[in-house]
């Protein structure tokens, strides 16, 4: 056991340790406010989750990828059942009080199954794609992976939690890409979603349809494929309006506030304005650890979960931000290297999927604090308070350690 631990991937261990320490320190600082809140002691609990995460990572490190591949359908099944259960007995909490994302037993909130379902979906997609050996070449072959990611996507969407649900879509695309699916296939697969977004104006939608016609003529897919894609795009253009009206008002506000933060200062634009003030007032070196005035006065909304990154920006300044981004970049590149050198497709896909999940969380969470992305409630890995997601991250990291160890053992470097 110890001998094995000595052979782990040192750079990955160093980056994960640095990110965890950085994250807990910032979470501690987020609790140091002038206004009494329950956030003050929340970092104690985060430490407990961290310990649990490390235990989970060690367990996965001890698990052979073959064993994992065998267990994948069960893990995926359990994750789907938990998600369905969440819809029935789930509870909301804190700023997300209106949604049902938590499984609680006897009033104690245990966790958000959606976070663990992300990992299960990665494993399931990896298993399906690895078995084939060949990348999906037609749209019809994309149906199965689409369903694998679509079921958790739909269940999370019903909670309703659009932000987390979209993560499943990104995971699907990332893994299809890594499995070698042609870019044209991915674009065609994504085209209905693009059509949906562009349908807010007839002009942009018309332009998109023309572009799509051009692309179809260029790529020459099967005739029925082209027709299906075209049909899906037209349908999206038609249902865009009713769909928009069915969105919860807070979701509409978030999307509108992304375009113009002044539009609804209470619900969401307010968050972005406060977040930008905190980050901007940090300057180059920041106001000093735990000394951020915006944070101290509780101007920052959700400063321990979704909006924890402005605390970094305000207190540690541009330097702290770049340091955090550099650590994240290092983590992603290390995972990329591990995925590249993995001994088998399943391991490779798993690691790349974990990297993709972390990537979308990082970009979306940090991006929304400077208004580059719409506000969604998805956490920042290693920083945001939240046990389930931290656990999911560490499980993914533990898996990556194992894959790295396997390729080292086989001399495949």
């Amino acid at each position: 056991m110890l001998a094995r631990l000595r052979e782990i991937d040192r750079p990955l261990a160093a980056v994960v340790a640095a990110l965890s320490a950085y994250g807990v320190a910032v979470l501690y600082s987020a609790g140091q406010t002038d206004v009494p809140t329950f956030v003050t002691t929340i970092w104690h609990r985060q430490l407990l989750w961290l310990a649990l995460g490390i235990v989970g990572a060690v367990l996965l490190f001890r698990t052979s990828p073959r064993m994992l591949e065998w267990a994948t359908p069960f893990a995926y099944g359990v994750a789907i059942i938990l998600l369905a259960l969440t819809l029935l007995i789930g509870t909301g909490a804190g700023p997300a009080a209106g949604t049902r994302s938590w499984i609680a037993i006897g009033g104690v909130r245990l966790g958000q199954p959606a976070e663990l379902a992300k990992l299960a979906t990665i494993l399931m997609l990896a298993r399906w794609l690895a078995e084939r050996r060949e990348p999906p070449a037609t749209l019809r072959e994309l149906v199965t992976p689409g369903v694998i990611a679509g079921v958790p996507f739909g269940l999370v969407l019903l909670q309703p939690d659009l932000g987390s649900a979209l993560v499943f879509v990104v995971i699907l695309f990332v893994m299809l890409f890594w499995a070698g699916t042609r870019l044209s296939q991915l674009v065609l697969l994504a085209s209905p979603a693009v059509g949906l977004i562009l349908a807010f104006s007839t002009v942009t939608w018309g332009a998109w349809i023309l572009l799509l016609c051009g692309l179809l003529l260029w790529w020459r897919p099967y005739v029925w494929e082209g027709l299906t894609v075209m049909f899906a795009n037209v349908v999206m253009g038609v249902i865009a309006l009713p769909l928009w009206q069915r969105l919860a008002p807070y979701q509409q506000n978030r999307l509108l506030a992304f375009l113009n933060p002044e539009v609804d200062p209470r619900a969401t634009g307010w968050h972005i304005i406060q977040s930008k003030i905190a980050i901007g007032s940090g300057g180059f070196f920041g106001k000093g650890f735990t000394a951020g005035t915006q944070k101290r006065l509780a101007f920052l909304p959700a400063q321990h979960t979704d909006f924890i990154f402005p605390v970094v920006g305000e207190e540690l300044g541009f330097v702290g931000v770049v340091a955090a981004l550099a650590l994240f970049a290092a983590l992603l590149f290390i995972l990329l290297r591990i995925a590249r050198r993995a001994t088998d497709p399943f391991s490779s896909l798993c690691v790349f999927g974990v990297a993709g999940m972390l990537f979308v969380h990082i970009i979306e969470n940090i991006g929304m604090t400077v208004n580059l992305m719409p506000v969604t409630g998805i956490p920042l890995p290693f920083f945001s308070y939240g046990g389930s997601f931290l656990l999911a991250c560490f499980l993914g990291i533990g898996l990556s350690f194992r894959v790295a160890w396997e390729s080292r053992q086989s001399g495949y470097l």
Binding site: W178, F284, A298, F318, F359
Partner: protein, 631 residues
Amino acid sequence: MNAFHPHLLDRRVRGARFVVWSALGILVVAFFRTQILGHGKYQLQSETNRLRPIPLPAPRGVITDRNGRVLAENVPGYTVALLPGPEAEMRTALARIARVVPLDSATIARVLDPRRRAPYHPAVVLSNAPFTVVSALEERRIGIPGLLIQTEPKRLYPDSTLVAHLVGYVGEITESELASGRFRHARLGSLVGKDGLERAYDDSLRGADGVRFVEVDAVGHLVREATEAAALAPVPGAPLRTTIDLDLQRYIAELFPRGQRGAVVAMNPNTGEILALYSAPGFDPNAFVGGVDPAYWRSLNESEAHPLLNRAIQARYPPGSVWKLAMAAMALKRGVVTARSRMPIPCRGGMAYGNRFFRCWEGRGHGDLTLTEAIAHSCDVYFYQLGLKLTLASLLEDANAWGFRRRTGIDLPGEVVSEFPTGTEYYDRLYGPRRWTSAVTLNLAIGQGENAQTLVNMVRLYQMLATDGESRPPFVVRPRVLSATSLELTPDQLAVLRRAMRNVVEQGTARGSRLAEISIAGKTATAQNPQGPDHGWFIGFGPAEKPEIVVGAIVEFARHGSSVAPLVARTIARYLGVDSTLVRELRLVLPADSAPEPVQILPGPLPPLPPVIPLDTSARDTSRAGPPPRD
């Protein structure tokens, strides 16, 4: 071709690297623009000494009765506050305000204490200022730096004492409440519900405060409304419709004997809707709006009568003879007796058991009775024997299963748990194993002994008896999800009990309250109170054939001149729309149908007799109940 061929993988790695690099690059550029290029602008905005947030309190939701009549509403009021500034400046301002309206030293200390308000928020000097004061201050505005006068919605309870225990009152949030996280989105200085419905449904009633921003100069003078930060309008709280019938509530309050303590609960037995919930003495919830006067707060807390106590749900009383219906129901369910069963020993004013003589409240004796007659005349001797026949174990088991040591789960805060022994281990613990006898059964059988029930819990028993034996958890706005309990009686057995209760009113212990037009069923009780005169109970329902309302009343220290039964009877009649003038003149003498203490027959050491549980009227922790006085 293998999709995982190293050359192909390398191509994808390059693609992925490119995406990661460009995404992180865009982020770095965005942060550079915000933090380095935009630093000056945001730095200025973060220096909040230029901008001061002024909270705009949201009006709380209106609470109405079932017919839309108002129980709690809002009226405009004036708040005088000071924008925070250097302490010397604030002292000057306070001194000038004090020339217009006298301020006590506690107020001044509170205003100057920065820990008592959210940072940069204005410090409230007078939270409910009369118009004359406001206009006088407005004239002197130039000389008072940082003066801020704004209209704010104030809570008004038009019926004041009548609904005090039901709706509760509001007050400023305390630090411990804030830290507990019980009140979502509340901040220092927020008004939150402290009791009653105001507390139970605070989340929906409170709404969301708005905020506007003003620009101030270096000494804290208000310069102008800030333009760059948009004001947020407050979101009013959602209205709350209760199941209360305000007419009935008012009628009960008029009927309730003046100066007495007690409570009345009226309930729809078929749904669990609470129609009226009255507790006396009451208090004035309007006095809490804008900070309670310390003298009034002290008088409430030090009063012998505990006016803040909601006697319907927060006080436990020995149930006395109203308990006998529970005994009869248990015995019927277990098949120990039928409606016509007689007991071996007829009532001769008491019976000997062990070496004690257990008396009946009627010293002359009732003779040989059936179950129906024993209920009608509330014969203690009959029920002593019924208890022994039922056995202590069965009694304890059924009482526990039927919820006599639980809360009813009514959606009002602070309901206390009714007390009852869990099992025989309770007595082993209390007296030591084998140091007690089944004499405790005799006491339990007539509703004395280790049995203390809330009024609402006893009303729940009669609700079950009045319907199909299933409990409907009582509620004022909406039921909390609770597992329902059932008496598990057949319709015939329920009919037997209802007939017996009807006899109580027609010819039994409550015959004085009989009404010609409708039939009422119910049960009287006089519960022994070790701390003073006995308590009077009556719980009844009507019409007896198809009950639409259950009313329970308890009057503390009712002695023998009480009118508890007519109070209930007239309430039922009023609700059913029957003219109740017939009982108007009646002054019923409630029989003392509670057995006196048993007497010792033989001299010598006795196994200890269970003491009556001291009635805990001060059960509620008054330190939790209300806000600290607004010194």
